[in-house]
Symmetry: C2
Subunit: 325 residues, 2 copies
């Protein structure tokens, strides 16, 4: 069992991670566990300590996912000069602040110094590749590779091509993330928020409404979700769920008979809350009640352990999804 | 290991199931597996065949959930006369058509003939207990016990009291469903669609929008959900997820820094699709592509096996959630 037995990964010996925050550290951990050397580029003076501490924190999860973690940091280095950092890499994964001008500057430097074969991907959740690429000489090379946080754990990576991103770049990104053990999904149109965050925003609007209206508390709403739709959607998405809920006629029957009722009776009455002072106060108070029994780190570690148990049960851990020698 | 080792269930020897459709059969199977005799009331002439076939179909899932299924139908009987059907039972679970007048008629008969101690619950997903209860002499006895389909498998039961439902009835319902191994959740207000279906409607609206706009196909959207938010929400609900995504400051920090951005940038751009001819045609065509490789029954059985594996991994099967002798 070696981390580079996935043939596609033979072409990825070295990665540049731009921005060593939570997302960058998570990518770095996953790349290192897959046998890819990582150079971190981040201007902060204490970046080495931050990254080492972060990697230590996620190492147990990487191990539970079935990835090798011995000598994880052997291939790790730091380079504060961006041009030098990307000079000899096979992939650049950028996780900088969500500011368009800054990203344009970063990518202008990267395209000048990165090798011609390198995959160029930004983790952005909100800035389209098209907008960054207007500042580039090789806009065809840049693609969004948006992970669902944290990248080392949650399988989804949304690949969102900009207007000028080439097919070859999209395919390169898809093959790379798949070889890492992720579940890449290429979007067919560049829309704000991409897909997962739009869906998350849609449900959260109604969550906030129901709590603000006093129908349920945050804890009660979370319990409702985990014991029904969450559990369902871990196994089958919304369309498949309604296909299976429509009887022998499946989704077509469901839409014909219940779709119009949903459109007429449910969609118009869904809530339109605002984060006004009273709503925020209520949400904060209930969050303290519901989640006050541990630090965020402790609760996250607990959640991640359950997450990995679930992924193992469904055969969707990275070690199950790639060929190992 | 006996099915009635949960003390609360000692008081439930016999149940009336009104309406032997998919929901009624699922409740019947769960009740029988828990050692509760079941009498089915349904006017259809072929109801016995329908129920026996339905029970046979769900028996493997009951067994996989860790419930005893030997001689499952030993305690099963049928009674077409509603008054007689409920005359000697400890619980009435009604799953009739979603028509207010019909439900009022049914419950008028039930309250006249059911024993005074019996729990009276309706599985309705859309008719508030308050509306049914205006026709009753004992409105305090009726409560909504709305399962997420199918009841024998998905843990959630939404308990929704009407304006006149007594505290005692609510507590009786909560204790009964919990003893069955379900995850009952009492709502604090009677709102249309209750909670789970409102959340489902909210996300489905955006799902339909994204497919109608050609951002993703149904299959791609489902894959995005199962590999990100679905998997997350099986383990931690939306509020906990954002609490853990907000850094050390948790949900309060998230709301302060990202909540207003979500309100300003995401909520206004979420879609408002309609089920017009073109949208329905697209949804039906993609459903045939995505789900045409098996009958609904086959695909549902496959989904349910994955569902049970997930529940086992999370320790949320009924046999794990109740004390067994």
């Amino acid at each position: 069992m070696t981390p580079t037995s996935e043939p596609v990964l033979d072409s990825y010996k070295r990665a540049a991670i731009i921005g060593g925050g939570v997302i960058g550290i998570s990518w770095a951990g996953l790349f290192l566990a897959r046998g890819i050397d990582v150079v971190i580029n981040d201007p902060r003076p204490d970046i080495e300590d931050l990254v080492l501490a972060g990697l230590e924190e996620i190492t147990p999860a990487l191990a539970e996912l079935g990835l090798p973690t011995e000598n994880l940091t052997a291939g790790l280095s730091f380079e504060a000069d961006l041009g030098k950092a990307v000079a000899d890499v096979d992939i650049v994964q950028e996780n900088g602040p969500e500011r368009l001008e800054l990203k344009q500057q970063i990518w202008q430097t990267v395209e000048q110094h990165a090798p011609a074969h390198a995959l160029l991907a930004t983790s952005t959740s909100s800035i389209p590749a098209s907008a960054v690429a207007v500042a580039l000489e090789q806009p065809e090379r840049l693609v969004v590779g948006h992970p669902f946080n944290p990248p080392h754990l949650v399988p989804l990576v949304e690949i969102v091509p900009g207007e000028k991103t080439s097919e070859a770049t999209v395919e390169q990104a898809r093959a790379f993330y798949a070889a890492l053990g992720k579940k890449p999904q290429v979007l067919r149109k560049e829309v704000p928020g991409f897909v997962a965050n739009r869906l998350q925003s849609a449900i959260f609007r109604e969550c906030v409404h129901l709590v603000a209206e006093g129908v349920v508390t945050e804890q009660e709403l979370d319990d409702i979700v985990t014991s029904s739709i969450g559990m369902r959607w871990a196994v089958a998405g919304p369309f498949r769920t309604f296909h299976l809920g429509g009887g022998p006629g499946g989704l077509p029957h469901f839409i014909e008979h219940l779709g119009s009722a949903m459109e007429a009776n449910m969609w118009p009455i869904l809530g339109n809350p605002t984060f006004d002072e009273a709503t925020v106060a209520k949400l904060v108070e209930q969050a303290n009640e519901a989640f006050g029994n541990g630090t965020v780190e402790e609760l996250a570690a607990e959640r991640d352990r359950a997450q990995i148990a679930l992924m193992r049960a469904l055969g969707s851990t990275p070690d199950a999804s790639t060929t190992r020698a």
